[in-house]
């Protein structure tokens, strides 16, 4: 599903060159639930961003769903992300000015959908994460766990093939973290969604199919 080949990422400032990723190659199979672990600053988030086409590697190639992504322009990239990828962030990144339903509808705005379809799909996605009764709330009126569930609903509303989650349980206590983890596991099991998750938490990582460890920008396991 995702094929990374010899990915290298170098950050340059005027004085220092930092190698964030050093020749990482990784294959993620369709329907796989993969977790990436490693100490802070080892490059796991960078790797995830590159998989999500949010960042470009300095070297190497990425194929997602058998599609080479190097030569896509801004608009094509946007469309590709919209159809294929869903994102979950550690700090949720919900839009506080919008109600829960509008937040979940967001990815659908960038597709050819009617307002009615959007509402239907968003409600459905919220049902899956158990928040159907919170559609009119604003994000600030919700707990952290609820916010992350809204973010998951937003990530799955467009039925993407792949979900990329950057420490989805990082800001939550273990009970709430387990809830979120269960939702992701069910999603993977029932819908066959490929999930790549960055985490610090060994327990969470062991619930996934495969674990990849990074250290100083290189894959160690």
């Amino acid at each position: 599903m995702i094929r990374l080949q010899n990915i290298e990422k170098v950050y340059r400032t005027d004085t220092i060159e930092t190698l964030a990723l050093n020749s990482v190659s990784l294959d993620v199979a369709k329907g796989e639930f993969l977790s990436i672990m490693g100490p802070s600053g080892c490059g796991k988030s960078t790797l995830l961003n590159i998989m999500g086409l949010l960042d470009v590697p300095s070297k190497g190639s990425i194929k997602i769903a058998d599609k080479a992504t190097e030569n896509l322009n801004d608009k094509q990239l946007a469309q590709f992300r919209n159809k294929t990828l869903g994102f979950i962030f550690q700090s949720y990144h919900l839009i506080n000015d919008l109600q829960v339903l509008d937040n979940v509808e967001l990815p659908l705005l960038y597709r050819d959908t009617t307002a009615k379809e959007r509402k239907m799909l968003a409600t459905e996605a919220l049902e899956k994460v158990g928040l159907a009764n919170r559609v009119k709330h604003f994000p600030t009126q919700l707990s952290g766990g609820q916010r992350q569930r809204v973010a998951i609903a937003r990530a799955i509303v467009g039925r993407p093939d792949i979900i990329l989650a950057d420490e989805p349980t990082g800001n939550l206590d273990s009970a709430m973290g387990n809830e979120i983890m269960d939702i992701l596991i069910n999603l993977n099991r029932n819908e066959g969604t490929t999930i790549v998750m960055v985490t610090h938490d060994e327990n969470m990582a062991h619930k996934t199919h495969r674990l990849v460890r990074l250290f100083d920008g290189s894959q160690v396991q």
Partner: protein, 408 residues
């Protein structure tokens, strides 16, 4: 999609109330000032009471004589206007009138300030004053120096109170009694060439209207048979002035022009500088600065506003918004803001004009909204809204997603 933009735009406006207030205040205040200014210009330059036949008229307000060390400039004498314009062939009629002057009169020991003006008989043919009572004086009355007077409605009310018809009654000014023969609708003082409280035949003037000196207290309005004759009439006056001898050896040059309404209205009385140029330049600079400030202010505020939404930008990009779509969204949001300002500005203009009219700051001046200008101003609002949104939106769309998401 648009509904969604609208929702978020309103939410953002509500969130930063102070910024919103500053932006809206800037836009609506600018618009209000412009509307009041144009209402003023419109009234002053566009109101054609009582000179309704303006497209057939040329105005002669000044004469200037220049020598090496001497310069003499001012309004003209009755003699000059009547003597020289009588030589012209194109004008079918020539209205001659003095500028208005002030005096006092007393009714029941109450002092009333009165502006008075002397005119010839043709003045009433050239001008279209609305008579609510009586009629103008004719040539015979003027030649006989009859003590007759035409008064404004305003003066009628002040002098006679709410009495019925006043034609035939007597009006005393400067210890002379004049018989009222007509009442006309008020002229605002901004139409200074035609404004007065009372109008009398020039022959009743105590000043020497027979004096042959060029300068005096009079102005002339030349009327052509139709508007096609106006350029011809203007040329004829210019030619005539080339032949008119200077008054004394002290002077070498003599200038006097028959101008169209606008250029005569803003005449500086200085041969070297055009009044039109000064007025147009001054107004343009004023308008430009007045529009520029809120625009810069808006650009600045917009940058702050948009940049503090970098998390939203990152999320939208991650979930499939292209840079173009985002630019479009922020421009739409900005247009909503400026249009809102436009609407508030329009309402404010109506209120301010109503207050000015009610306060009677300038007698008989009724200002009203110029709808063409309102339309243009709203259009300008939109253009500014667009421009002040484009730059911040463009900067924002260049934002890298990862950076945008980290910024929170």
């Amino acid at each position: 999609m648009l509904k969604n933009y609208f929702k978020i735009a309103i939410a953002v406006l509500k969130r930063r109330k102070f910024f919103t207030f500053i932006s809206l205040f800037g836009i609506s205040f600018t618009l209000t000032i412009l509307m009041v200014l144009t209402a003023f210009i419109d009234k002053v330059a566009g109101d054609n009471y009582p000179d309704k036949k303006r497209d057939r008229l040329l105005y002669v307000n000044r004469i200037e004589q220049k020598g090496k060390d001497n310069m003499n400039s001012g309004t003209l004498s009755y003699y000059f206007l009547s003597h020289y314009t009588a030589m012209m062939k194109t004008p079918v009629k020539v209205a001659i009138s003095s500028g208005f002057s002030g005096t006092n009169t007393y009714v029941n020991n109450k002092k009333i300030a009165v502006s008075y003006k002397y005119t010839n008989a043709e003045y009433w043919d050239v001008m279209d004053y609305d008579f609510t009572e009586g009629k103008p004086f004719n040539k015979q009355q003027v030649d006989n120096a009859d003590r007759v007077v035409i008064i404004s409605e305003d003066m009628k009310k002040q002098y006679f109170g709410d009495a019925g018809p006043v034609v035939g009654k007597y009006f005393e000014a400067d210890n002379v009694s004049y018989r009222v023969i007509g009442v006309v609708k008020n002229v605002p003082v901004t139409s200074y060439m035609f404004f007065s409280d009372i109008y009398m035949p020039y022959t009743t003037s105590k000043a020497d209207y027979k004096s042959k000196s060029y300068g005096g207290g009079y102005m002339g309005v030349l009327m052509a048979a139709n508007k096609d004759d106006v350029p011809k009439m203007q040329a004829e006056y210019e030619n005539l002035m080339k032949r008119v001898p200077v008054e004394s050896k002290d002077f070498q040059h003599l200038y006097s022009h028959a101008n169209t309404f606008f250029s005569s209205y803003v005449d500086t009385g200085n041969e070297g500088t055009s009044g039109v140029f000064i007025v147009v330049t001054a107004i343009s600079i004023f308008v430009f600065i007045f529009m520029l400030l809120p625009t810069l202010n808006l650009v600045n505020i917009n940058i702050t506003r948009i940049m503090e939404r970098s998390s939203e930008i990152g999320v939208r990009k991650a979930f499939g918004a292209s840079s173009k779509t985002l630019v479009y969204q922020f421009i739409v949001e900005n247009l909503i803001l400026t249009l809102l300002g436009g609407i508030i500005g329009t309402i404010l203009s109506v209120i301010v004009l109503a207050v000015i009219n009610n306060a009677d700051l300038i007698a008989n001046l009724q200002l009203s909204i110029n709808f063409t200008v309102l339309f243009i101003a709203l259009l300008v609002c939109l253009v500014f809204g667009f421009l002040s949104g484009v730059y911040p939106a463009w900067r924002m769309s260049k934002l890298n997603v990862v950076t945008a998401l980290k910024a929170q």
